[in-house]
Symmetry: C2
Subunit: 337 residues, 2 copies
């Protein structure tokens, strides 16, 4: 019996269901070093090396907040792809770009975009090597990233084991606060305001941390936090079949000040914000110290936030209170910018 | 002295100038087996093998004619990328897709798109391995293709030498006629009508021909004809620094019938149409017969259309008349669908 046409709109079903629908209709590649649905795709080249690939699209309407320049938008389009490479421990080498540009854009606009693309790539040692332009109604920057990795060093979303330490590479909450600042008039010291806005307009991928983590071989699972810390933790539980007790959420001082001034919940900013490019990793406990040291060697830091559990919940255990961390974060189609 | 901001709009300057502007702002990758501006990008893996990459975006507004289904549009998005691999003699293995979807699309629409993507990949032995979805105002299907090739077998746009035979892999004019049919009421036998429309909705990439041509090592330059035969010839002259005398333009019988019925110039359809995925190659004359035979071995054909000259013009020498073939074809931003 043929099933009835599914007429539900995309805003009803949301991004995750869309991806499930697509996946259901694809014939899977026979062998793949990385499971479908992880941050990147990998194809075996020969022997121990794999080609690592990623594509992600920046859309003017949803991904470019008011006040962000085209240079910044183009740079961000590259950085958000690099962040996924960072989470897997893969070295990015070549950037390809499909540009969709409105006819009303000027030659100057194209220059700014090209500068931003180049900047994003060069910051991480990669080069923009080619692409294509088309006419579109809205700015579209579809970046594809290519690089290589040793198969044995790739850090997947699956692999976390009970007892592992869960850790992050930095502080949370700034982009969520920065985005709210952009649409609201808030009295804040200009230094704090600038730091918050900067975190939105000039995000950084934790590539050197990711590569150091991949090298030391003690990471059992890894993901970036681009859809929010809570969402990343839920993805790790789903792909690794485990849970977490989280006893610390590292909050940026600027986000704390914003939350105080605006009387909003700082934890909400740190857990459910998104547009944040820290890495969230699980580390074998016996290797914690050497892993922490490896990240410090590249001037990064690794902050423990809890422990992996067998129970598949994510429990926030702070200030003598236990709560569940909800599976929410940014979701295309459902969320509204 | 800082130059004045270039405020010309993209519809004034057109796609080719946009690409030049982008290129000017990119730091070039130190070593690349393929020059910037060729159909694909290649990155040295190790030794003699290169990773081959291509990205091209299908946009609803300009690339999906009325009557084309979403399944066909998604399939075409893959096929147009495969065609560039075919022209270079590279084997496609993995497809990544960045989808931009309007919120009003249904789950059924997504199923059709996924089916079309899978179909396009599997027809050419590749697999859709991953991607990403975003919300957009218009349908955007940005396909990235990954594969490998032997560096020594890659067929570039540069390399044609005076005396080489220029040849194509099939007949021209059907998609140009088919596109006109879609917007016009023309009386034609349904078999002819169907063949013309089919060439627009279900294009085919000449992958097996391209791989056979690459294998035999006698091709000095190669390109596909997606922007029209005239445009492809001009690209080869530009990149190889040569010219052509063309003494034959292989015209599809259905295009000839359409031209007769509508009193349009059949040559115009064949030379300046575009959305056509034949290969245009130059072949060393002493290797012509074995090259022709190699393409016939894979059930393809290679039709000679002229000869490479030192003079950098493209002369059409047919029916006792000599004319220049103009450098026009489909150009995003300037052309109107």
């Amino acid at each position: 019996m043929r099933k009835r046409d599914d007429r539900r709109s995309l805003s009803e079903i949301g991004e995750r269901s869309i991806i499930e629908i697509v996946k259901k209709h694809l014939e899977p590649i026979p062998t793949s070093p990385v499971p479908f649905g992880d941050d990147v795709v990998a194809v075996t080249i020969k022997g121990k090396r794999v080609a690592v690939l990623k594509t992600d699209m920046l859309v003017g309407k949803t991904d470019v907040p008011e006040g962000m320049s085209l240079r910044q938008a183009a740079r961000k389009a590259v950085v958000m792809n690099v962040s996924d490479f960072a989470a897997k421990g893969a070295v990015p080498s070549a950037v390809l770009v499909s540009l969709g540009l409105p006819r009303t854009f000027s030659a100057k606009d194209v220059e700014e975009i090209a500068e931003g693309l180049n900047m994003g790539a060069r910051e991480y040692g990669a080069y923009v090597v080619g692409g294509d332009t088309s006419e579109a109604y809205d700015l579209i920057i579809a970046v594809s990233l290519y690089g290589t990795a040793l198969k044995s060093k790739l850090m997947l979303r699956s692999g976390a084991k009970p007892g592992d330490v869960v850790a992050v590479t930095g502080l949370f909450g700034k982009p969520a606060a920065g985005l709210r600042l952009l649409s609201k008039n808030v009295k804040l010291a200009s230094k704090i305001r600038n730091a918050l806005i900067d975190s939105v307009f000039m995000p950084h991928a934790r590539l050197k941390e990711g590569l150091a983590l991949g090298e030391c071989g003690a990471v059992s699972a890894s993901i970036d936090s681009s859809d929010g810390l809570a969402w990343s933790l839920h993805e790790l539980t789903r792909m690794s079949g485990i849970g977490f007790i989280i006893d610390r959420v590292p909050l940026a001082e600027e986000a704390r000040r914003f939350a105080e001034t605006c009387h909003v919940d700082a934890l909400e900013l740190a857990l459910y914000g998104g547009e944040e490019y820290e890495l969230v990793v699980t580390v074998k406990p016996e290797k914690w110290h050497e892993t922490e040291a490896a990240v410090e060697t590249v001037d990064g830091r690794l902050l423990p936030i809890g422990v992996v559990t067998e129970q598949k919940h994510i429990v926030l255990d702070m200030d003598g209170k236990k709560r569940l961390i909800e599976p929410r974060g940014w979701e295309h189609f459902k969320s509204r910018p």
